[in-house]
């Protein structure tokens, strides 16, 4: 099912399924949220790489598919992560172009080193690919946190790992070619909506409302 269209329709058709009273209270906000969804209309163009050659893209896609593999649920491949990274390297992370060029060479060299009969990374079995990637994984010295400076001299594998996860989980309505059809959000259990009403989860479902604590505080 085309979730993008569904969501847009949902928003533009006057918040179907939500009570009239709620709509009346929140209407200006709901309209704004509908406008917010318009980014969705501009996304999903056919695959045409801007940075990678087809061969490079195949290697990156194979590596990304080991970082977020496809099993009983979709993975990096289905989320179009390679398209996301291709665009990323032409937009917000241009500085990493050289790192990818070098990294792809490194990937190829390591494949031949560990498995001399295998011509390229993407031809190896998943187990062999994991072995190759493990040998390139130097570990993250710190996690990526909002606004915080990243670790200096971060290598190819860690960069690819972060880009793969970002491409898997980015807002599918952002014009980034990642998280295609919102599959990444489906995998983690995030609804592809931007308006939510309580109850939100298991623990607040039976909440009876705020009640004042009766006890007096002690002096700490």
């Amino acid at each position: 099912m085309d979730e993008t269209r569904t969501r847009r329709k949902f928003l533009l058709q006057g918040v179907g399924g939500i009570s009239a009273a709620w709509t009346a209270t929140h209407w200006p906000a709901a309209v704004a949220a509908a406008l917010h969804a318009r980014g969705a209309m501009q996304s999903s163009s056919p695959t045409a790489f801007e940075f990678f050659t087809t061969e490079m893209a195949a290697e990156i896609e194979a590596a990304a598919a080991r970082i977020v593999p496809t099993n009983d649920t979709p993975g990096a491949r289905e989320a179009g992560v390679v398209c996301f990274i291709d665009r990323a390297l032409m937009t917000f992370t241009k500085n990493d172009q050289e790192l990818y060029h070098e990294g792809l060479k490194q990937l190829q060299a390591r494949t031949r080193e560990l498995y001399p009969t295998i011509p390229k990374f993407s031809s190896a079995t998943p187990e062999q690919q994991d072995e190759i990637l493990r040998s390139l994984d130097t570990g993250a010295t710190q996690s990526d946190r909002p606004f915080r400076p990243g670790p200096e001299g971060q290598g190819f594998f860690e960069t690819l790992r972060q880009h793969t996860i970002l491409g898997f989980l980015i807002d599918p309505d952002a014009d980034r070619r990642g998280n295609k059809d919102g599959v990444g959000w489906r995998v983690i259990g995030r609804e592809r909506e931007h308006m939510f009403r309580p109850p939100y989860g298991h623990y607040d479902a039976g909440y009876r409302g705020w009640e004042q604590t009766q006890t007096e505080p002690e002096n700490k």
Binding site: A32, H36, R145, I188, F196
Partner: protein, 554 residues
């Protein structure tokens, strides 16, 4: 620019120029223009609108849609004056109309009485600049009420037994509780503590032409696309513009304040969007550029009369930099919380606001709150238990199981004012406009680290009481980065030991006022924006009185 709003010429001598349109600048512009003054607000960033406010993690965090850009505005960092400072992003602040009130979490408790009387209550503390404020909670109380009603705060009056006295109730009930809040409330009560609905600067009901929160969950770091979060852009700036006397001028990067021969500020020099130099003339100037940019502007405005920086006869401009100590513990629960829905935090605890140093062995106090402020990508790289594989099937399995079952407890507390923690001008690095960049020198006081570790232990205790399946703490270390930039032009009665007086007027320059995080004398216990806005309402009252007495004319 709003349709029909006024536009002034730079040669017009307006009554006030306000530098910065954030939490403080927005409020001051609204108050002054409402009181009949002609006001120009110079904002370095663009004027964005709701259609720009997307949920794109890249645009917001990597491209700095809403914030200062570390490449255009680099800063350097060092821990002590003995070190050579290196390029390293140490601050993030809002750089658009609305400033940091655009992307804040909106946690809006009032400071308590003790926050204004730290020295009397705990001081002196050797080697620190701990001091009482020259104003009290009681003096600020009516202005807190004004923030709650005009800017828009949702909360439950009297819900925390530790709350300071208030003269009126919140204008709106609290936002709906989240699963994290219910878990926190039940476990907190079990331990004999007093959880309460966190007051939030987010509308729980439609108000003043603005819609209520729709629960999208993208609060911290993001702008609200429906105007329910009470940024100054959503709340007071439209009121200022409706007076017909206030012009908000975006893309105006202020570089210098100029003095006339009488030692008064005659105008504000800035780069316009095309990097042309302009000078807006004014009878008086208010700098609300934040705790980093306000001292930087004064230091960059050094002249013959003030060789060490404008209004810096005390030598304290940029000194006593405080953040707020903080820690985060993360926990996993059996059932889905879906805490990504809603907003950031719904319950807080103030039982540890005022700890007895005799009992705990250190100075300080703070708060805990229940929240979830990871957006999907940052959750995947920072929200899983530390032993989780970083990629592959096991990583994906943990990610897909945990995302909806995770919550955090955020601890925030005091930071001691130290003269050695400060902003100065970097001798080598310049920004994209050729101005000397900020150099931060900062090292946490040992008590700040002891306090935050102690508070975090309470968070872990609560998570145990709540039956968390798993819990862990993000590394607690000396801070080298902050979004809360406080104390760098402190308020006081003595011109030797402070930069501004109780009117927010600089001791040295009679028509120059400073009001933002830099005005704070001590740090409070986290969430300072509410207090910065109360100060701004009060400061505008003081400026109005002085102007009406004719004290500000050149």
């Amino acid at each position: 620019m709003m349709p029909n709003s006024v536009q002034y010429k730079t040669i017009d001598e307006v009554d006030f120029v306000v530098v910065g349109s954030g939490a403080a600048g927005g409020v001051i512009a609204k108050e002054l223009s409402t009181n009949g003054f002609r006001v120009v607000v110079l904002e370095q960033g663009p004027r964005l609108t709701e259609s720009d406010f997307v949920h794109d993690e890249i645009k917001v965090f990597k491209e700095n849609l809403l914030t200062n850009h570390p490449e255009l505005q680099p800063n350097t960092f060092r821990r002590t004056a003995n070190e050579k400072a290196k390029l390293q992003r140490a601050i993030a602040y809002g750089r658009c109309v609305g400033g940091s009130s655009i992307h804040f979490t909106a946690n809006y408790w009032r400071f308590h009485e003790v926050d204004f009387r730290e020295h009397s209550r705990f001081g002196p503390i050797a080697g620190t600049g701990i001091a009482d404020w020259p104003i009290s909670y009681a003096e600020l109380e009516p202005y807190y009420g004004k923030v709650e009603s005009e800017v828009g705060v949702s909360g439950a009056a009297g819900a925390s037994p530790f709350d300071p006295p208030r003269s009126k109730a919140y204008p709106m009930p609290p936002l709906p509780v989240k699963s994290s809040g219910v878990i926190f409330e039940r476990a907190g009560r079990k331990l004999g503590w007093h959880p309460f609905p966190t007051p939030m600067a987010i509308l729980s009901q439609p108000r003043a032409g603005r819609g209520a929160c729709v629960g999208c969950g993208f609060c911290w770091g993001y702008a609200c696309e429906v105007g329910a979060k009470s940024s100054t852009l959503a709340s007071v700036i439209p009121m200022a513009e409706r007076t017909g006397r206030c012009e908000i001028r975006p893309n105006s990067y202020v570089c210098r304040l100029e003095l006339n021969e009488g030692g008064r500020v005659s105008g504000v020099v800035y780069f316009d969007e095309k990097k042309n130099i302009r000078k807006q003339r004014a009878k008086a100037v208010v700098v609300s550029a934040n705790g980093a940019e306000t001292p930087r502007l004064l230091l960059n405005s050094a002249n013959k009369q003030f060789p060490d920086g404008l209004a810096n006869s005390s030598g304290l401009v940029g000194k006593y930099l405080m953040f707020n100590s903080n820690a985060r513990s993360v926990a996993l629960f059996e059932h889905p919380l879906n805490d990504y829905k809603g907003y950031a935090d719904s319950r807080a605890i103030h039982d540890f606001y005022e700890l007895d140093p005799e009992k705990v062995g250190f100075y300080g106090g703070g708060a805990l709150d229940a929240r979830f402020d990871f957006t999907p990508y940052f959750f995947a790289v920072g929200g899983l238990p530390p032993e989780t594989p970083r990629w592959g099937a096991a990583f994906k399995g943990a990610l897909s199981h945990n995302y909806v079952r995770t919550m955090e407890i955020h601890s925030s507390g005091t930071s001691l004012p130290l003269e050695t923690n400060n902003f100065s001008l970097d001798p080598d690095v310049k920004d994209a406009w050729g101005l000397p960049a900020l150099r931060m020198t900062y090292k946490d006081h040992a008590d700040d680290l002891k306090l935050i570790t102690w508070l975090n232990d309470r968070a872990l205790e609560l998570l145990d009481a709540a039956g968390a399946q798993k819990k862990w703490t993000l590394p607690i270390a000396e801070q080298q980065f902050s979004v809360q930039l406080l104390g760098t032009c402190r308020m006081g009665n003595d011109p030797k030991s402070s930069v501004i007086n109780t009117d927010h007027r600089t001791h040295d320059v009679k028509n120059l006022f400073l009001c933002d995080g830099s005005s704070l004398v001590t740090s409070g216990r986290g969430q300072p924006t509410m207090t910065i806005q109360a100060l701004a309402y009060r400061a505008a009252d003081r400026m109005t009185a002085l102007a009406k007495r004719g004290e500000l004319g050149a």
